[in-house]
Symmetry: C2
Subunit: 344 residues, 2 copies
DNA sequence: CCGGCCTGAGAAAGCGTTTTCTCGGTTCGC
DNA sequence: GCGAACCGAGAAAACGCTTTCTCAGGCCGG
């Protein structure tokens, strides 16, 4: 007969009663403490099995001071990049027996700090993914969030590893590629204003402009999704640019779709590039030229760093920098005006 | 001066000491219990603010017997469908102050039951998303998982709402559409064998075949991702079918990409359809004909149902059935052989 | 044969909250 | 003016577990 303590669920006390031992002994057995007489241990195990006893994780957490859970806060769960990071993180953490709690800030940066704090209190560590909050805010809360790892954002706070993708270099590589194809008038379809990675791209373009005074680079406002790209067709055409650097693959795909609807041909009329190399980029028509970011790996690395912090190991690498790799596909081609020059 | 109790973090005891009251009173104030003298309450609040006190959620959870967290287990976090469900669920739950814990089973069905149990114990409720486990297993564990809501799977267990998409009807609608275009030889590129939604599609096709004895339907093995579609090009061409029903949009996109590489034209040489209407489906070239599933809504509904269960409300709708909506786009066209017939 | 050591298990003290119980001090009613 | 109802706040129990503390009993050596 299964007896229950006050609450509905079976607790350690029920097992102890059934096996005729104390709570303490049951706990010892369940945790593989070998200072228990084998006979008694067997009896306890039998009782536990019969009652289908499973320790209550909340009680354990309180006693042990750890939850075996980590949190991740992302600005927008709809974004494939963050999904990929989440996936990599979740996979890696699961391998070490950790679960992940997600917090989506829906791009409202004012919520981030609160969300992060709440998540952190429930978890053993936190991954802050491309936070949109200001630097000041970040510095302010970072210490209280430890163990913390940052993705695509850096901080002066000690002990906070940062994994950042070198968007600046990536965007330069892309621009360089377009210039080699003969484009002399480029346009950058920017991302969300608060996005740090957008900032890095802008910096990269500044460097590029300094190195290529002959190339014109027009800045266009934008966003981070399909519709941004789709809605930017007019602005892009007005700019007169023949090589377009979209903020990311989504924007690029939206733009290509819009251009296609206008009867324009990519890449013969206009070259389009993306960023990230999301899985779909390979399968668009034409296949998208983009800068590949090892994004799942980023999630995995985030876990490695966080684990080191949680275990208080000396983290050998306090952070790392990821270089995007240029993926030249079919969405870029020789500039229209420069075409004969190339052939000639 | 900030004093800390034994542990590093600030606890209720610290606030109590600073305000010169007992823990109990602090707790009362923090929880808006109005049986506290306003002066004392103010003093407590001041102390709490000064110490930046935030209640420890684990302690709260233990005392209250709830975690304000729900769990979701999915077979594969890389799948856009599950991502969308997660997103909808997370959004809806957040609005009610709940967080979500994710568990990815990586398509290994034997892990699902354990994962589900663990997740459930940490949470106030659980969403089981298209579980791959057997019916027997599901019936076995379902009672212990309550409050539980199922997505794309049903159970005989009482009190477990099921949200299912009518894939059977959807696939019939698609087939019907192809037949109307003059196709008489169709092929179905199946999904993962253990997928219940694949089973529903197969049932739908049986109904379809019964209603259309003149139409040939060839069954092809498959999977659920891009590469499945890309790798199925040969099998598809060998089948001689002119209308292809891919398991989902991903497979369809992979297939279209493969066909394109072979120099085949969609839809002039062959018509391709997907399923789900993921955001990308609109932007492929040609845009993909598919059956739209209100997937984000599914996640939201899952939360509504789960919330009702958690609050022990009488759930008026013990589950619901979602009808896919046929989205005719450019990837389907008149059958090659039947073309002249159509025009004539 | 007795004292010290060691082993193994129960008792009890946390972990950080909430909540019931209790009780001193008012206030109200008769 | 005195008992009853009441109000507000502290003490203590409870939530379910881990872990230290403690102690009984068995074993060994002297």
């Amino acid at each position: 007969m299964v007896r229950k303590s006050a609450s509905g669920r079976i607790g350690i006390a029920d097992v102890a009663a059934k096996a005729g031992v104390s709570h303490a002994t049951v706990s010892r057995v369940m945790n593989g403490n070998f200072t228990v007489d084998p006979d008694i241990a067997a009896r306890v195990r039998a009782a536990a099995a019969e009652l289908k006893y499973q320790p209550n994780p909340v009680g354990r957490s309180l006693a042990l001071g750890k939850t075996d859970t980590i949190g991740i806060v992302v600005p927008d769960l709809a974004n494939p990049t963050f999904q990929a990071i989440l996936r990599g993180l979740s996979r890696a953490a699961a391998q070490d027996g950790y679960r992940v709690l997600i917090a989506d800030s829906f791009e409202v940066s004012s919520e981030e700090a609160i969300l992060a704090g709440e998540a952190r209190r429930r978890c053993d560590g936190l991954v802050l993914c491309a936070p949109r909050m200001t630097d000041a805010e970040l510095e302010e809360i970072a210490p209280s969030l430890h163990p913390l790892v940052l993705i695509n954002r850096t901080t002066a706070t000690a002990g906070v590893p940062s994994l950042v993708v070198d968007y600046g270099q990536g965007v330069q590589d892309i621009a360089e590629h377009l210039v080699e194809l003969g484009h002399t008038r480029l346009a950058f379809l920017a991302g969300p204003p608060r996005s740090a990675s957008n900032g890095l791209r802008l910096q990269g373009l500044e460097s590029f402009k300094a190195a290529h005074p002959d190339v014109e680079v027009i800045m266009l406002e934008g966003g981070s999704d399909f519709d941004t790209g789709h809605g930017a067709v007019d602005a892009v055409l007005d700019s007169g640019a023949t090589g377009i650097l979209a903020f990311n693959d989504l924007v690029a795909m939206g733009l290509m779709s819009g251009l296609h609807e206008r009867g324009l041909d990519v890449p013969n009329d206009i070259s389009v590039t993306g960023f990230d190399d999301i899985p779909f980029a390979k399968y668009t028509t034409p296949a998208l030229t983009t800068a590949a970011v090892p994004i799942t790996e980023l999630g995995e690395q985030a876990w490695q760093q966080l684990r080191a912090l949680i275990r208080k190991e000396q983290s050998d690498t306090p952070g790392s920098r990821y270089q995007p790799r240029l993926e030249v596909r079919a969405s870029t081609g020789p500039a229209k005006a420069a075409r004969s020059a190339v052939h000639g």
